[in-house]
């Protein structure tokens, strides 16, 4: 049973079967990564272009390792040091990359929707590696994978996402993904950073709620996910004082004690320790933050593999 989608733009278009297939394939990919030679020749002869218009370490390296582990060649295009600096438009850059022979494009862009423009422009599959505040589907998939691996299930669990929901593409994609798999999601953070529309995504009825008080939100939680306070996105005066934020919304031991005894702590990274998460929690027993990074490669391999080979003719013929 193949994926129903040609691109990985966000999880809203992905059904439970699609997500399940990616997570199951991720298990096989994790086995490959555990080998002495963590590489298979599956995508030998194909080229994957990483177009990163925004700074990134873990996501870019993770996609690069995933592609290489499947035997693909990788070209990295970053905004600095390329024709993007000379003012080349996104569409022209995309056409150029395609003309140079890319078989798949992974794109990160500061503008929401840029990957959709890429998908409409290109014949090859497109993976969204983060677009503005909108979506970060591969992060959500690796979060789903990490929780499923640790807890053995996704259905019925309680996930608390804490922090700047308003500016968080990680939160949005995780809301789609976890709700699709039947988890309950509680969003927590300063009221000015808690947009109510994210509780009303179609198909998530009743699964997503808002609770501004963190002590209340974490009660009986199975997973507590802290989001990074993104100072580069704090152009307006959304957060007057980081110390005030830490006092109210930092994941601390006292707060975690109110969650389930085997609750997991997650963070998409990079962390601001002492702001959204305390160092003892970040490196403590409940933390799966490093596992998230490791699992990211396996899950991205699964996504790349399942989107590869789906040529335009083959997709049209079905």
């Amino acid at each position: 049973m193949p994926l129903s989608q040609r691109n990985l733009l966000d999880l809203d278009e992905f059904g439970r079967d699609d997500i399940g297939l990616i997570l199951d394939t991720g298990v096989s990919m994790a086995e490959i990564l555990s080998r002495q030679i963590p590489r298979v020749p599956t995508l030998r002869g194909t080229t994957i272009a990483n177009l990163f218009y925004e700074a990134s370490t873990r996501t870019r390296v993770s996609f690069e390792l995933a592609a290489r582990s499947l035997g693909a060649d990788v070209v990295n295009v970053t905004a600095s040091g390329s024709s993007i600096e000379k003012g080349e438009s996104l569409v022209d850059t995309l056409r150029t990359v395609q003309a140079l022979g890319a078989d798949m494009v992974v794109i990160r862009h500061r503008d929401a929707g840029a990957p959709y423009l890429a998908a409409a422009t290109l014949d090859c599959p497109v993976i969204n590696a983060g677009d503005g505040w909108h979506a970060h589907p591969s992060q959500a998939l690796l979060d789903l994978y990490t929780v499923r691996t640790r807890l053995g299930r996704l259905e019925g669990i309680k996930l608390v996402i804490v922090g700047d929901i308003l500016h968080s593409r990680v939160a949005r994609s995780n809301i789609w993904g976890f709700a699709r798999m039947g988890a309950r999601i509680v969003l927590c953070g300063p009221p000015q950073l808690l947009p109510h529309e994210v509780t009303r995504f179609p198909g998530t009825d009743g699964l997503v709620t808002i609770e501004p008080n963190l002590d209340v939100a974490v009660e009986d939680a199975d997973v507590v996910m802290a989001l990074r306070i993104q100072q580069e996105r704090m152009e307006g005066a959304h957060l007057p004082d980081l110390r005030e934020y830490a006092r109210l919304y930092s994941i601390s031991e006292a707060r975690l004690a109110r969650a389930n005894p085997d609750a997991l702590v997650m963070h998409p990274g990079p962390m601001n320790q002492g702001v959204e998460i305390s160092a003892t929690i970040a490196y403590g027993n409940a933390s799966v933050i490093e596992e998230q990074v490791t699992n990211g490669v396996a899950v991205r391999m699964a996504g790349i593999y399942l989107l590869a080979g789906g040529s335009a003719e083959a997709a049209n013929g079905q």
Binding site: V27, S28, I32, Y305, A314
Partner: protein, 191 residues
């Protein structure tokens, strides 16, 4: 896997007792060929090679009082025809939780046909280490090789036409043991 072909007739070639006898003979041949069961490792190829390898290991245990370790190998990611598929096939887990370095590895598949699956399996195995030997056991050799590959242990040689399909069923997966040949309305393409 066959898509969109019609089966015109079907005749049974082996029943459960035939398959049991063939596996018993293969188990003895393996032990004889390798002068015992020491350093022996069995690896079943997904899907039906896995139960066959497990059964051979159990038979060897009956007369050698030692069970060779059994691993599972999925060769999907080593196939040479992925680009020809509309969508990538599902990947099953590979599980070889023991070293194969300096071991005598017997690879198991249900049906040997073009040899391309075995070629992929050899590539995959070599990524796990350097075995002393790699040998091949199959229940059915149906001919039509496209690569210079042969089996060391064969349950039954079964000459077939290209437009025939060998249906091998095993208790563990299909609920019964049998081998049958069906004639298709168009030539078989292994996928």
């Amino acid at each position: 896997m066959l898509r969109g072909s019609v089966r015109l007739n079907r005749r049974q070639i082996m029943d459960a007792a035939d398959m049991r006898r063939a596996l018993t003979r293969i188990a003895h041949e393996i032990v004889e060929q390798n002068s015992g069961a020491e350093r022996l490792v069995l690896i079943g190829m997904h899907t039906r090679g896995v139960p066959l390898a497990r059964r051979v290991a159990a038979i060897i245990d009956e007369f050698e009082a030692t069970t060779p370790p059994v691993g599972e190998l999925d060769i999907t990611l080593y196939r040479d025809d992925l680009g020809m598929q509309a969508r990538p096939p599902a990947v099953s887990p590979t599980n070889i939780p023991f070293p194969i370095e300096a071991k005598n590895v017997v690879l198991f598949d249900d049906v040997l046909f073009t040899g391309r699956t075995v070629r992929a399996a050899l590539d995959a195995l070599i990524d796990f280490g350097r075995p002393r030997t790699i040998q091949l056991g199959v229940m059915i050799d149906r001919g039509h090789r496209e690569l210079p590959i042969r089996a060391d242990y064969v349950g039954k040689n079964l000459p077939t036409a290209r437009n025939e399909d060998v249906e091998l069923r095993v208790q563990e997966i299909d609920g019964a043991d049998s081998v049958a040949v069906a004639t298709l309305d168009r030539p078989y393409r292994e996928d």
